[in-house]
């Protein structure tokens, strides 16, 4: 059987919904480092970050059948982390540093940013976080982004051979990766 690491996020999600535990493990391995680091950066506590990620993935498996993505898997996972962070903030109560920090933001005035601007800002931050990951962990995530482009779809429609598409896409990606970094992958996904 083909290695699960060659499946796209969408394919893994479909398999997960059907109860494929290997797909679940692949999803965990793919996103564990970026999500953990993201949670830690907000919570600044490794125990809380661990709990957040563990609960997130446990719930993902337990509720797999009713999983519905409005956008894609990566957006869903990061949104889940954000929601858990806010629930953690509520748990910490009135006197926590979070509440003061939010107060400061309000008092210093801020611009209402719309959804798209916030997504771009989030992409930039996620990109930085992934850049800062140890090489091995970074590689797993970055490679998986390639799999989300469906070579077969592009080839069929353009009427060219699939291996040609694969080669061209890979070449393009190599250049983009060098020039623009991982930002390109994320924009592609978090649109």
């Amino acid at each position: 059987m083909a290695s699960y690491s060659s499946f796209s996020d969408m394919e893994l999600t479909a398999l997960l919904k059907k109860g494929d535990h290997e797909a679940f493990v692949e999803i965990y391995n793919r996103f564990k480092a970026p999500l953990y680091v993201h949670a830690y950066n907000k919570l600044r506590n490794t125990e809380e970050a661990k709990d957040t990620i563990q609960e997130l993935f446990t719930k993902l498996w337990n509720n797999r059948e009713s999983l519905t993505l409005t956008h894609d898997l990566i957006s869903y996972l990061y949104a889940s982390v954000r929601n858990r962070v806010f629930r953690q903030i509520e748990r910490k109560g009135l006197e926590s540093g979070y509440i003061s920090s939010i107060q400061d933001t309000i008092q210093n005035g801020y611009n209402f940013t719309d959804h798209q601007v916030r997504e771009k800002q989030l992409s930039a931050i996620i990109e930085k976080e992934i850049e800062a990951l140890p090489a091995k962990m970074k590689e797993v995530f970055v490679l998986s982004r390639k799999m989300n482009l469906s070579h077969k779809e592009i080839a069929e429609h353009l009427g060219i051979a699939e291996p040609t598409v694969k080669k061209q896409v890979n070449n393009a990606l190599k250049i983009l990766r060098v020039k623009l970094g991982i930002f390109v992958y994320l924009i592609f996904l978090l649109k």
Partner: protein
């Protein structure tokens, strides 16, 4: 804003009860939280923590997969929030039986063809042989009911627009002049402009649901236009569900290749398009076009004589039921969002279908003439 007010804001966000502005405020704050300085977590600690998390995640061996399959077919497992029913099960208690004086029969083969000159042909009421030879078209009906439309080679004028319409409770299959086979579901209509050999394309307009087996012709791509999308194919088998009263349009591909393009009034929308491979389905909603893996059995259930509901809301189920049985549905007690899982033949009378849904205990029905009332 004081601390209490800020805390209240967070509380409301977690309940999903804050305004868009409040949401924007909190999410902007969230996004702008600074990142930890490099090296705050060591690589070693990171690997250790990730390993710990993995060990605490739910496990699943091969046994689990088999059990899942058994549970699904035996319908023993009760899914949270969903009712379930399956074919052939007898009513358990008489007091829960739906009392029906005049049961409602399911739909059947029924359709009307309207020619360009305004003439209508009721496919139910005609005999076999040549049904019509005018407006450039030769329409015949075989002994088995199969209707074939061909271009009339002896026609004086160019053929004109042809429309086939199914009523609620009707379905029909016919063959278009180019050899394309179309199965039309209930409450649907298909418009076709027959073309001569020198034309560059073949085009139909659809409202409702149809399954197509498009005859291969590389010189003339086949276009299916619905209210919100245009589909381009060369030679393929696919199903399109584009009912006016549905918020979404679904195109499911079984064989071949299709190109789906979002459109408004037949004009293609730049940017929002998808190429499907067999097994995929495009889903159009007001949020745009999305591609997902399809449940092929579910998508073609209607053509094969079944309803298959896979965690489908009661609102959506009753919409399909009302089209096939030609009934009105009245919802009491806010039940549209309850979801159900099950399979039932489309050839059963209405009371049988409602009975099975009722056995889940999540809903009750009352039939009054051609009206069905849905309640707790």
């Amino acid at each position: 804003m004081n601390k209490e007010e800020v805390f209240e804001l967070v509380r409301r966000y977690n309940e999903g009860k804050c305004t868009e502005q409040e949401q924007s405020l909190l999410e902007t704050w969230y996004v702008n939280q600074s990142s930890a300085p490099a090296g705050e977590i060591t690589e070693f600690k990171l690997e250790q923590d990730l390993h710990d998390i993995f060990c605490a995640l739910p496990k699943s061996g091969r046994k689990m997969k088999l059990w899942y399959k058994i549970a699904a077919t035996a319908a023993v497992l009760l899914m949270i929030g969903a009712g379930y029913f399956y074919m052939g099960r007898q009513a358990a208690e008489n007091k829960d039986q739906i009392y029906v004086r005049n049961d409602i029969k399911p739909g059947g083969n029924s359709a009307v063809i309207t020619l360009g000159n305004g003439k209508t042909i009721d496919l139910n009421k005609t005999g076999t042989g040549i049904l019509s030879q005018e407006a450039g078209l030769l329409i015949t009906k075989a002994a088995d009911g199969q209707v074939i439309c061909k271009l009339d080679p002896h026609a004086a004028k160019e053929s004109s627009l042809m429309t086939i319409t199914t009523p609620r409770g009707g379905a029909y299959m016919l063959e278009l002049p180019d050899g394309t086979k179309v199965w039309l579901n209930a409450a649907s209509s298909l418009q076709y402009l027959p073309v001569r050999a020198k034309a560059a394309e073949r085009r139909v307009t659809l409202q409702g649901e149809a399954y197509f087996e498009v005859a291969k012709d590389k010189t003339k791509p086949f276009f299916v236009e619905t209210a919100h999308q245009v589909i381009k194919v060369l030679g393929t088998h696919f199903n399109v569900s584009a009912y006016e009263d549905d918020p979404s349009t679904r195109t499911t591909l079984f064989e071949g290749s299709v190109w789906v393009h979002e459109s408004r009034h037949g004009v293609k929308f730049a940017g929002n398009q998808a190429v499907l491979v067999p097994g995929q389905q495009s889903l159009w909603t007001s949020n745009g076009l999305k591609v997902q893996l399809a449940d092929l059995k579910e998508a073609l259930a209607w053509k094969n004589g079944y309803f298959i509901f896979n965690e489908e809301t009661l609102g959506s189920i009753m919409q399909k039921v009302s089209r096939w049985y030609n009934i009105d549905v009245v919802f009491k007690d806010d039940l549209e969002k309850t979801s159900f899982i099950g399979v039932i033949s489309r050839s059963k009378n209405l009371a049988s279908v409602l009975q099975l849904l009722q056995e889940t205990g999540n809903v009750h029905f009352k039939m009054e003439g051609r009206s069905v009332i849905v309640m707790k």
